[in-house]
Assembly symmetry: D2
Homo-oligomer: 337 residues x 4
């Protein structure tokens, strides 16, 4: 159950409600968003019978049918907007995140940052720590990569999105990243979710390969419940029997999440398809379906990339896709950045 | 292996090639399309060594990497266009097929035909024979339904798309339908595919719930190989673990099929999602991804429908979606009908 | 709703119940099994209120929670036993069906029949009509194959299990087959199901590649509802993301179907795995899980087979597996044949 | 590429090989198992051409077709056996791990330990840290649970298997656990894998919900490569479209893993099915298919369990299943413990 307070509700109003709930044996948590809301855990029968709507300052009481609360659209009706450096993502602002799969070298990353910036990207992606199926594959450059990303930000002004794989690296990543990415394989690494929920930094949470939409929103709930409201969720393809693509882009996840949650949704057509020749079609489809942003892999020389070369756009390819993306963003009535 | 003949190739040219192939022990089939092509079965080594390119009238010889031949883009580079009554579908012409899941009554069907025509549909769908999971569910009105569909066509001018479930009904369906639909559950009913391949009537072939894209194109190959080149393939969602939607729309299938085949591709967002609130988003995404048409369920009164009510648009809903569809068709540079 | 009559119920008892149901506006169908049962369609409220238990001859009234009725365990508690020639399958009798994927020649088939008989098989499988993904693959020998199978039966005494793909071939197949197989791709070919439901011949119904267990039982319901109670269902693997096996054997389907239905269940480890080295393990697992039979591919010379060579046992391999199968059948307390 | 040394190879033999590989530009790692082996990374062409077989002490050189090396059967032909306290698992020894989903209280856990020990279990499972989809669900008692498990071990002699979710808890878990479990959701938490690879304690690695068998073995490779050879892999069901069971037990994974790897395989029928009425059938099937052990949930009072009540056996149910398990273990020629 969620209690949504009115705009002008006072601290005393809030205390009164909390006290009444505690007296009835329920746990209650205050979320100081806009509006202030009170999440009641347990939804016990005693609480269900309380005349909470008549308390001063209470706007309405929402009984939730779904297992997530704080991330639900019922709880918070307005679209959440998350900062990407000096630009926004969500609520009519379209975020365009691009860059290489991994930071391989200073030159490769700076070059990538320049050409994606030139073509209209609003943020730079790049992996410093790489989750790889094989222990024998390139695992990322670690802190050296983070320093290169920071340098690229300094030169281009693009905020940096990079993945955190290990809770022990949180402080390190916080020193460099504008947005912390939680990867698909860690979507249900619940302690990692709780940890990024305790810091004040936007989080981009990717859907697990076989996670349902409900599980994705529950994972986001872990972060928001720990106090961090700045969450972007990312559809990046699910695992099915089809082998023509690396994964199957679940395009329906975009409108479903927009209906059920106030969180912004980004689509990653690169990991979803694994094929560079599909990026344009899938990017346009994602925007048409209502996505708040895209996350695309691009590399100065895809044929030499240490990972994901087959799904990375070249500078020319990225420029071509970006022009179409900008047109479609305009068509749906959103603003780039 | 496919042999593509030049535009001016004569009957003698063709005979010479065929005779040479037969002499080498291969089977060869002529397909009198534009251009004339000769499909060679077996791809035996002896044939591979023949200097076929130097024969008179031969344009080029194509070795196929994929198991389908006649439906492949390598075999026929130009987009196939299929007639929907007096309009077209494919090659820049967008087909917009709409109507009820089943023909339930004369009134319901005529009313549906009128409002979808009014909103811009270019063909009418409606089931006379219904494949239902339960033997206790409504199974369709049979020939009476076909007569009602024909009446709706007479009044509105919309060509009729209706499903054939049983090879014994082929003559009956041919008397009424402009386009024969082969449903998802019959995608690998190979004798049904061969039967519709022997008639001169467009076929709309729906992807099976767990069919790969390659299997869909192989099923289309069954039809084309039997002589009928007028095939439209339809992406209608695949079966995955996700339960938020009835099926998972595989939006990537659209660009993949366009790359690999010359056949037109239609998307059915109604069956893919099973949810009326997603139809607009998914329709726009499909067009943006390159679809040549849409197939949407609409009903004068969805809440009373005998099947698929939850995924059928009302007249007002359909009008709203149609307006957006028309805009997006325009944006991608295609013509409606 | 199902009405189960007592053992000694008279025709008048039955008529009384039927008349009462008709008077209340319900449709009722008599099934002359043991015991006699009356299936009531519609489950309308009026019917729900009738005091049917107090009618003479009525044993009990069962309200069904699942969408299938006649095949449910609630409806008929005793295991159904189906004849395989002079042996049985179900109710403690284990059926062991083996033979080649396709009938390729008289020699190959007779040889296969001999060695599977020798090793303990109780029925011979062999395809005359083959559903093949590719129109260019071997499609079966048709009636010539059926004649060869009949000859093999005459020599070895093994009853013949063969697939019916096309309702137009029903009479032909009935002339030769002891058990009609409906293949995975036709599991929801509802007119074919209805057609085999109208004849008095055992049917082996294979689960579709992406059919749920409930859908499989609904398909069986189509057959039983049309009057044919002799149905065997077959688990043969479902389509998943895993690629190490051709399909994923859903071993849990065996105990689930045994709990929910009275129909016997057979497992096909050959199609489920596609790998000859797994046949023994999966066969033993199937028996341990409660299967009433197995269906295994075997070929005199698998390396030359026209289809499914990689999953077909050689004579020596089949003998080895059969010995272990016989031991395990004994361990679970069942009788072979 | 793997170089397998002879039994009597000396340190000098090994150094010679390593030096030759380094001179050719390859990386080489020594694994001091029995026999000693040298893993060569990169498999570069230069290395492929070296006449390594003629070096003193070299038994054979294995070129690996699969991406995993150290866990492959080619690399190490004999079955790995892992200690469960004073008993073994693998190589003809069957491990029977049972206990509650979570440690809820001292009484519940001690009672569970007693009745599973009494019925024949060889290890006790119980969760102290619980990965739960919802942040509002019971998350485990943490260290207090570990202390209770240690007390249960002291009383019953059963070694303790418990899950590690967070690399920061490794030291804590090592103080109490005999076997460290890595859960399905963490199967690709690569830093956690590396961390448990650096300690000398058996690891039970569960297959991810949508992980392929190859990915499971790659995850095991992360652990073994870090130096810990004591790895048990666990099949616990994969995510498919079927909803009759919680997951789909991939029984074929058992023989496939036994063919490809020397690591022991355990099956968890509780999580695979989510239904207590299937545990017996699936346990027997697993043993018949070749599993080296079982992991089963049991609870003194399943109807009051804080998690997984529907899939937990009661004391009576567990006793019944255990008796059948013991018989089947005997039938396949293995020893319990």
């Amino acid at each position: 159950m969620m209690i949504i307070m009115k705009e002008g509700a006072t601290g005393t109003d809030i205390d009164d409600v909390i006290n009444r709930l505690h007296a009835a044996g329920a746990e209650a948590h205050i979320h100081c968003g806009d509006p202030v809301t009170i999440a009641v855990e347990g939804d016990r029968e005693e609480v269900a019978g309380l005349p909470l709507e008549v308390y001063s300052g209470v706007d309405r009481v929402v009984t939730l049918l779904r297992p997530y609360k704080l991330v639900s659209r019922e709880f918070h009706q307005k679209d959440t907007m998350v900062s990407l450096g000096s630009t926004l993502l969500g609520g009519g602002h379209f975020g365009f995140i691009a860059g290489p799969c991994s930071v391989e070298s200073r030159d490769q990353t700076l070059e990538a940052a320049r050409f994606v910036k030139e073509a209209g990207a609003t943020a730079l992606r790049g992996g410093a720590f790489k989750p790889r199926t094989s222990p024998y594959a390139f695992q990322g450059l670690g802190e050296a990569a983070l320093q290169i990303l920071a340098e690229a930000r300094e030169e281009t002004g693009l905020p940096v999105v990079t993945e955190l794989m290990d809770v022990r690296h949180l402080d390190l990543v916080l020193r460099y990243a504008d947005v912390i990415q939680v990867g698909a394989r860690n979507m249900q690494n619940f302690h990692l979710l709780a940890a990024v929920g305790e810091v004040d930094r936007p989080v981009l949470l990717k859907r697990g390969l076989s996670a349902t939409i409900e599980e994705l929103l529950m994972a986001a709930e872990y972060i928001v419940r720990a106090g961090n409201h700045k969450v972007i969720v990312c559809e990046r393809g699910i695992r099915t029997f089809e082998t023509a693509t690396r994964n199957t882009l679940d395009i329906s996840a975009v409108p479903i999440i927009k209906l059920r949650s106030h969180l912004p949704v980004v689509v990653d057509p690169s990991h979803a398809s694994g094929r560079v020749e599909l990026i344009e079609s899938l990017s346009l489809a994602a925007i048409a379906a209502g996505a708040d942003g895209l996350m695309i892999e691009a590399h100065p020389a895809p044929e030499t990339a240490l990972c994901d070369g087959a799904q990375s756009l070249s500078p020319a390819g990225f420029a071509r896709v970006s022009a179409r993306v900008a047109d479609m963003v305009d068509w749906v009535g959103k603003t780039l950045g």
